[in-house]
């Protein structure tokens, strides 16, 4: 290669790689004609939606395709020697210990019945024949290197005794022990909380410069890839549609798919009032249905013309390193999106604005005061076997007071285990409340759902997280939507079917879906049916429990737009739970930040995302991966884990991890350890639960500078 003189050595060179899986119906091509190179000390990000062949490439490189997978074409060269077309034994000697892989779920990568130290040391004793003692020492050094607190102690522990973030650190340490030339990471942070994810990404960045390994980073998250990658390969339906330096691609995406992906995710700080999400229509085609001699993205592309369907476009070089597989790549910026789409989207935004103006009447729909939801557990004493032991309580929701006005949306954010879902269960009556007052439509509803009157049940419905389990697989879509209609008698008996069809149309599905079974639908379609089912009783309040977090980004945008549209049309209030802060910000009018069962900050969305912040909110915002490699973000990392809700810290629940109290409070913040913090009123409706005075909190810089 021409530029190789000035650049680092090429470690991995993938050329025209095609991979197919054998099935009963013949070979199915999962990856087609993919080429890229990875250099020393460089991270190449592979992004794309699920089913686009990202992981298949990784498995192809390490020859782990399974019994029915095979490389049908192309070359993989690792440090100059070809990996394709060799036997497993030959591969083993070529690769040796030079390629390491990190997977999504650390729980599955670590052996639960072997101490971590033995697992780490084994890597060295097995590959390098290093004596046990030395291997042990080296493992401890490596654990120190990955910022593991108290590494000697960790070596003696089992997998379940350390947290998820620490587990992933151990897996990374294990991968780095042999000083690999190539490190492949397959969604290494997807299973982690946002604060933990940020710390692991920091570590990956650090290691890159220290070890000078070549990295392949696979993810679906544009924000994550913007943070860690140097080069970017965008995958779609088994083909590479765009590749280039990460800054170039984010600045000037040239393939309609890349552009679509970027328009589909809200940027942190975007709100439904001032920006729109543009979903990509349709879905990723199944490998068997992919067009062979046409642009693979044409069916979903807004710019597609007949030319696109005539031949498969080749990679068009836009600059030395930036290339895209689109015949219009060079002029794509000047080809505006179809007008119709823009206008319609703008209409939605306008309608929303008008609606906000109308909504000055501040009618309360739901109000809770000191709501408590405790789960009893037995202590581990012998007495408790006989039911005599001391009763302990997991304080899932502790003293939560909130108010939701009619037609508004309340977003609830927080790490996993902070009580978001428990709060919702308490509100809707799936779990008995342990204390506090809850009023819905001016009626006190302290009791469980089975004891509530049908009238109240009907007014509060829910949209669930997991598209695969939100619908009963045994019944057709029509029957499932008809059930709440029949139960709450929203329409006369004879009109149930018309009503179902009307609801299907409201969620942008045609009447033909009436007789479909859930397994015939895609994830996004299932989620829409779930929304239609929640709408069927015409509720005043819809609770959305992470409705988009299990969906691909392009589909996510469509579902969010749909929910907004429904809110416009039906004027329903919503409670929106999500762990993605950009999505919550985008969707909500008000936001409550929860930590360990308590609300630590609550107020209008725009107020939450600018100072004064609660220190926890600040840390959350600093951890959000931003899909812009040039954005500046403060680096605040929380240490430790969320403490157990069984025994929450005294005083302020957050004091064990608070990065602010030592510097901003007299006496190193001793007060936080003993005294419950007071509510501090900042602006109208914006409250912060913190010992630090408001004036000081206001002085904090905003987390993100653009």
């Amino acid at each position: 290669m021409a530029e190789s003189d000035e650049r680092a050595e090429v470690v991995l060179d993938v050329e025209h790689l095609s991979i197919a899986y054998e099935t009963r119906k013949g070979d199915v091509e999962a990856v087609r004609d993919v080429s890229f190179t990875v250099r020393e000390g460089e991270t190449v990000g592979l992004v794309g939606e699920s089913g686009c062949g990202k992981s298949t490439i990784a498995f192809g490189i390490v020859n782990h395709l399974g019994p029915n997978g095979k490389i049908t074409d192309g070359q993989i060269r690792f440090q100059g020697s070809a990996l394709t077309g060799r036997s497993a034994a030959e591969l083993k000697t070529i690769r040796g210990d030079r390629i390491a892989m990190v997977f999504q779920d650390p729980m599955q990568a670590l052996n639960p019945s072997v101490r971590l130290g033995e697992q780490l040391a084994e890597v060295l004793t097995c590959h390098r024949e290093i004596p046990q003692k030395e291997a042990w020492k080296k493992s401890i050094q490596m654990l120190k290197r990955v910022n593991m607190p108290d590494p000697e102690n960790v070596m003696r522990r089992y997998t379940h005794q350390i947290s998820g973030g620490q587990q992933q650190r151990v897996v990374i340490a294990m991968a780095m022990l042999n000083n690999p030339a190539l490190l492949i990471m397959d969604e290494p942070t997807t299973a982690l909380d946002v604060t933990v994810e940020a710390a692991v990404l920091d570590l990956i960045e650090e290691l890159k410069s220290d070890f000078n390994a070549a990295n392949i980073f696979i993810t679906h998250n544009l924000g994550v890839v913007a943070r860690v990658s140097d080069q970017l390969c965008v995958m779609y339906a088994g083909q590479m549609v765009e590749k280039g330096p990460v800054v170039d691609i984010f600045k000037r995406p040239c393939h309609p798919y890349t552009r679509g992906l970027m328009a589909a995710v809200p940027k942190l700080g975007d709100s439904k009032l001032d920006s729109m999400l543009y979903p990509i229509r349709g879905r990723v085609p199944a490998p068997a249905d992919r067009p062979k001699n046409a642009c693979i993205f044409a069916p979903r592309c807004d710019y597609a013309t007949d030319r696109c369907r005539e031949a498969r476009p080749s990679m068009i070089q836009l600059s030395a390193e930036h290339a895209a597989r689109c015949i219009y790549a060079e002029e794509i910026e000047d080809r505006p999106r179809t007008n119709r789409r823009r206008r319609r989207v703008e209409q939605l935004a306008e309608a929303k604005k008008e609606e906000v103006k109308v909504q000055t009447a501040d009618e309360t729909i739901l109000e809770s005061e000191n709501l408590k939801l405790y789960y009893p557990t037995e202590s581990e004493s012998v007495m408790s076997i006989f039911g005599l032991g001391e009763k302990l309580y997991v304080k899932a929701v502790d003293d939560v007071s909130l108010r939701l006005a009619k037609g508004r949306t309340l977003g609830v954010v927080g790490e996993s285990g902070c009580g978001k879902s428990s709060l919702v269960k308490g509100l809707i009556g799936l779990e008995p409340l342990s204390g506090g007052k809850l009023e819905f439509l001016d009626v006190e509803v302290g009791e469980e759902v089975t004891h509530r009157s049908t009238h109240l049940i009907k007014e509060m419905q829910m949209v669930f997280q997991n598209p695969d389990s939100t619908l009963n697989p045994s019944y057709t879509v029509g029957k499932q939507i008809a059930r709440p209609i029949r139960r709450f008698k929203t329409v006369p008996k004879g009109q149930v079917k018309q009503e179902v069809v009307r609801l299907l149309k409201a969620v942008r599905l045609s009447a033909a879906y009436y007789d479909r079974l859930p397994r015939q639908l895609s994830g996004g379609e299932k989620q829409r049916v779930g929304i239609a089912r929640a709408l069927a009783s015409r509720p005043d309040l819809i609770i959305c429990d992470e409705p988009v977090s299990a969906l691909d980004v392009s589909v996510q945008a469509a579902v969010i737009n749909l929910l907004l549209e429904i809110q416009n049309t039906f004027g329903s209030s919503m409670i929106f739970i999500a762990h993605d802060l950009s999505v919550v910000r985008y969707f909500s009018d008000d936001i409550a930040v929860m930590y360990l069962g308590r609300i630590v900050e609550i107020g209008p969305a725009e107020k939450i995302y600018e100072p004064p912040y609660h220190p926890y909110t600040e840390a959350l915002l600093a951890a959000v991966p931003i899909a812009d490699p040039e954005a500046h973000q403060k680096e605040i990392r929380l240490s430790g884990n969320v403490p157990s809700a069984l025994n929450p810290p005294k005083g302020c629940h957050f004091h064990t991890r608070c990065p602010r109290r030592k510097e901003m409070l007299p006496d190193g913040g001793k007060i936080c350890e003993t005294v419950d913090p007071p509510w501090r009123q900042s602006a109208k409706g914006h409250r912060i639960l913190c010992h630090i005075p408001l004036e000081d909190l206001e002085k904090i810089d905003p987390v993100i500078h653009r």
Binding site: R341, L348, M460, N466, L471, R487
Partner: protein, 317 residues
């Protein structure tokens, strides 16, 4: 709200094009489900064996000129011949006709009294009743949990602790020998296992979000258990039931052999073996052989069918 009426709509999520999935009639769908049997050789062999026995049981009167009770004093204990294809027993009764009439009791008719019978064989009814009781108990204890679960399951565990054959003997000795009592015994013996299976399935299914959706609609527990949960547990239950029919036939044979099954002179495979056994050493093994072969082929057939079905349905997941 249709596309035309609504002022706001985003074309990006406009009505998706419908993949080519034409609506099929109920029969076609049923046939599609059924056709997975043809994909498995194991299941096909099993199906063939089972269908053979069902066929001969239904058409028994047309397949033999003799009734099962007709005695031919001149030729007792003879081997297969032109007149008697499988031979005769010690009283000169035709073994073929006794065999296929015996299959009737197992698979096709349940004699309630001398001249009253209902369709569905003894083994089938035994499994069906056990299935109904076991499924109900399993659903209830799995869905409600807590002390209801604790009490039900401990009681069923206690029943499972008694060896099965002993349990059969106790029940049959207490109730007396009759087809109905065989069904009752099978129910008592079969219920705990089915309840355990259904309970474990329920425990899994009740955590799904569609159950939560039903709960937020305030559905009553019976609706949730029988309408929302049960249909999703049917796959494993059907496979288990098929295996259980096999065990039930086996149990009927055992009871008949011990003289506790359907009372003589009804043609019962178990009692035929028991009677025929006495003449094996006398040089005529036929009376014992044929019913043994019958039990074996039917049980093996059902097991193969269930296994093949399970394997094939797993492969599709």
């Amino acid at each position: 709200m249709t596309d035309g009426e609504s002022a706001v709509s985003t074309s990006g999520d406009a009505v998706d094009p419908i993949p080519d999935l034409r609506q099929r009639s109920f029969f076609q769908r049923w046939w599609e489900g059924f056709s997975i049997i043809f994909a498995s050789k194991t299941a096909m062999v099993g199906l063939f064996l089972v269908l053979f026995w069902i066929f001969v049981a239904i058409f028994a009167p047309f397949l033999t000129p003799y009734t099962p009770l007709e005695q031919d004093w001149k030729s007792p204990n003879i081997g297969p011949s032109a007149e008697h294809p499988l031979g005769t027993d010690e009283l000169g009764r035709d073994l073929w006709s006794r065999l296929i009439y015996g299959a009737r009791v197992v698979l096709v008719v349940l004699p309630i009294s001398e001249d009253l019978w209902i369709p569905g064989g003894t083994a089938i009814w035994g499994v069906i009743v056990a299935l109904v009781v076991g499924t109900a108990l399993g659903l209830i204890s799995g869905y409600y949990g807590g002390w209801i679960d604790e009490i039900t399951m401990r009681l069923l565990d206690a029943m499972m602790a008694v060896p099965i054959i002993l349990l059969y003997l106790i029940i049959m000795a207490a109730l007396g020998a009759s087809a109905i009592n065989v069904v009752i015994a099978m129910t008592i013996v079969g219920t705990p296992g089915i309840a355990r299976l259904v309970r474990s399935l329920t425990l899994d299914i009740r955590t799904r979000e569609y159950i939560r959706a039903a709960e937020t609609r305030g559905e009553n527990p019976w609706h949730i258990m029988f309408i929302e949960i049960l249909p999703n547990a049917r796959g494993p239950i059907i496979v288990d039931a098929m295996l259980r029919v096999g065990y039930a036939i086996f149990a009927m044979g055992t009871l008949g052999f011990l003289g506790l099954g359907i009372p003589p002179p009804s043609p019962d495979w178990g009692s035929m073996v028991a009677k025929g056994r006495e003449f094996i050493l006398a040089g005529s093994p036929w009376a014992a052989l044929w019913p043994s072969v019958a039990i074996a082929t039917l049980v093996v057939g059902l097991n193969l069918l269930a296994d093949g079905l399970r394997e094939e349905s797993m492969r599709y997941q």
